[in-house]
Amino acid sequence: MIGGFLDYSPGDSFLHRLNPLAKIFLSLMLCVSCFVTDSLYFCLFMILLDLAMAAWAGISGRAMAMLEALVKLSALLFLIQVFFIREGNVILLLPMDIRVTDKGALFSLLMALRLIGATMPLALMLSITRMNDLSNVLVGTLGIPYKYAFSLTTAIRFIPVFTAAMAGIIEAQTARGVSFDTRNIFTKIGLIFPLCVPLLVTSVRKIEGAAISAELRGFNLRKRESGYKNYPIRAADIGVFLFAVTVAVLGVIVP
C-alpha cells in the first residue's frame, strides 16, 4: 500500500512543474508547522490544505486512500496514547482503573492529527516529483554528495519493489496452504514472521544487483558537475517558498 502512495504520478499541474527544491521545502515546512502547532484546528486546516493541493495536482484518489490509511494508523496511536495520560478531568472511567481524561483525549487527538498532517505532505511531494529530479537537485543545488542522494532516492524507490515482493511471497505461501486467509490478526502476524527470510534474501539480492550494475556503469566516476539538467528558481518557486514560510510561522503563532 505504501509503495503505491510513493510511486510518481505523472502530470503537468502547477505543483508538478515547480522546482523540486521548492516542493521539498514546502513539504518540510508543512510537516514542521504540524509539529510546532498546539492547535487542533490548525492541524485540521493543514490536512485540508494537503487534500486541496492533491486535488490541484490531480491525485485526489491517491490522497484519499492515503488519508484513509493514516486515519487507521492515527486511530491506533490515539487509543494507545489516550489511556496513558492521567492528567485532567476524567471523562470516561473503565474497569481496572483505566481512565480517559479531557487533557489526554485532546492531546491524543492532536498527536493523531499531527501524524496525518505531517506525513501527507512528504508522501504527496514524492508522488509529484521524479526520483531523478529529486536526486539531481539534492546533488546539484544542495551540494549533497551524489552517493548519499542516490542512496536516499534508491531507498525510496525500492519501497514499492519490496512491497510487491512481500505481496508475492504472501501469495506464494497462501497457495502453499499457509492460512493467510485467517481473520485472526494475531495468527496472521505470527505467520508473517517466517516470511522475513525470503523478503530479506530477495531484497539483498536486488540491492546487490543494483549496486553492481551502478558500479559497472561508472557510478564512482560521477561528480556534482555530471548532472546536465538545470533547475532554475522561477517566480512561482519563490512564491511557494514564501507561502511555506508563512504556513510555518502561522503554525507557531496560531494559539
Binding site: I169, E171, T174, R176, P194, P198, T202
Partner: protein
C-alpha cells in the same frame, strides 16, 4: 477438476479476464498459452482461489473458490511459481519440504516419511541452505516441496523459465510423472516446444479471452489461431506446415524423420 463458468476478473478498473468458460477434467495435462499480458497468470490464480472472480463461477475440486478458503483448496492443489524465491522460507532443504507438508497434513510420521522420500528422489542434501543453491536447484526444491504433498491438481506458472535444457527436462519429467499417476496439470508456458512435447491439451488466451481449447496437436498447427494470440508454432510444426501434404501428423523431430524417410523411400 476445474470448471470456469463465464468468469470475468477486473483489477484497478481493468478487465483482465473476460467471460471465460472451460472445463479441465481429472487427469488432464493442459497448457495455457498466450502472449505476455494475455491474463494467463491471473487465470491460474483464479483456479486456486488466490484471486476471486468478479463475476461468474470457478469451481476447483468441487469447491467454489469465491467462498472456499485458499488454504482449504491448497490441501489438494500444488502451485509452482515462476520465481522459487517467493516460496522458500526455511533455512534447510529438509525444513522447507517439511514446512510444505505441515501446511496440508497433520500426521507427523507421514510428514517425515514423505519429506525423506522427496529428499532421496530429488537427490538433495537435506541440511543444505536453500538460498545457496543455484536457480535450477531452488526451482527443483520448490517442485519437490509441492510434489511431496501429492497434490491432485498441479498449477504451474512458467515452471521452466530461466532453466537450462537439462534442468528443464528434469522438471518436466517430474511433472509428467505425477500426471501419469493421475494428477491434473495446468501449466502456463511460453515454450511451445515444451507444450508440444508434454501437454495433451492446450488453451489459447488472448487479451483475457479464451480463443481455443482443444488437443495440443491441433492447436499448434492452427497458424491463424496462434497469430491472433501473437504466438508462433514450434519450429518442427512450422516446418511440417511448410512441407504440407504428407507431414500433417508431424509433431516431434522423430515424427519428422519418419515422415521424411517414408516419403524419400516412396520416391525411390
Amino acid at each position: 477438476m476445474i470448471l470456469f463458468d463465464n468468469v470475468s476478473y477486473s483489477a484497478g478498473g481493468t478487465k483482465i479476464i473476460k467471460g471465460v468458460s472451460f472445463e479441465i477434467r481429472r487427469g488432464d495435462f493442459t497448457a495455457l498459452i498466450g502472449a505476455n499480458g494475455a491474463g494467463k497468470s491471473t487465470l491460474a490464480r483464479l483456479c486456486n482461489g488466490l484471486l476471486k472472480p468478479t463475476s461468474g463461477t470457478v469451481r476447483t475440486g468441487g469447491f467454489d473458490t469465491a467462498s472456499a478458503k485458499t488454504s482449504r483448496i491448497a490441501k489438494f492443489t500444488g502451485f509452482l511459481f515462476q520465481d522459487p524465491d517467493r516460496q522458500i522460507c526455511k533455512n534447510s532443504v529438509r525444513d522447507e519440504i517439511r514446512f510444505s507438508l505441515e501446511c496440508v497434513m497433520e500426521d507427523r510420521d507421514e510428514i517425515e516419511m514423505r519429506c525423506e522420500r522427496a529428499i532421496r528422489e530429488f537427490s538433495f542434501d537435506g541440511e543444505r541452505e536453500p538460498f545457496t543453491m543455484s536457480r535450477g536447484e531452488r526451482q527443483r526444491l520448490v517442485l519437490a516441496s509441492v510434489l511431496a504433498a501429492e497434490p491432485e491438481l498441479l498449477i504451474l506458472d512458467e515452471p521452466t523459465t530461466g532453466l537450462d535444457y537439462r534442468e528443464c527436462m528434469y522438471i518436466m519429467d517430474c511433472i509428467s510423472a505425477i500426471n501419469r499417476k493421475g494428477a491434473t496439470v495446468l501449466m502456463i508456458s511460453h515454450d511451445m516446444e515444451i507444450v508440444q512435447d508434454f501437454a495433451k491439451d492446450a488453451m489459447v488466451l488472448n487479451d483475457g479471452m479464451l480463443l481455443a481449447h482443444g488437443r495440443t496437436k491441433e492447436i499448434i498447427r492452427d497458424r491463424e489461431l496462434l497469430a491472433r494470440a501473437s504466438l508462433l508454432p514450434p519450429q518442427i510444426t512450422d516446418l511440417a506446415l511448410v512441407l504440407g501434404e504428407g507431414y500433417e501428423s508431424v509433431v516431434t523431430v522423430g515424427d519428422m524423420v519418419s515422415a521424411v524417410k517414408e516419403r524419400s523411400g516412396s520416391k525411390r
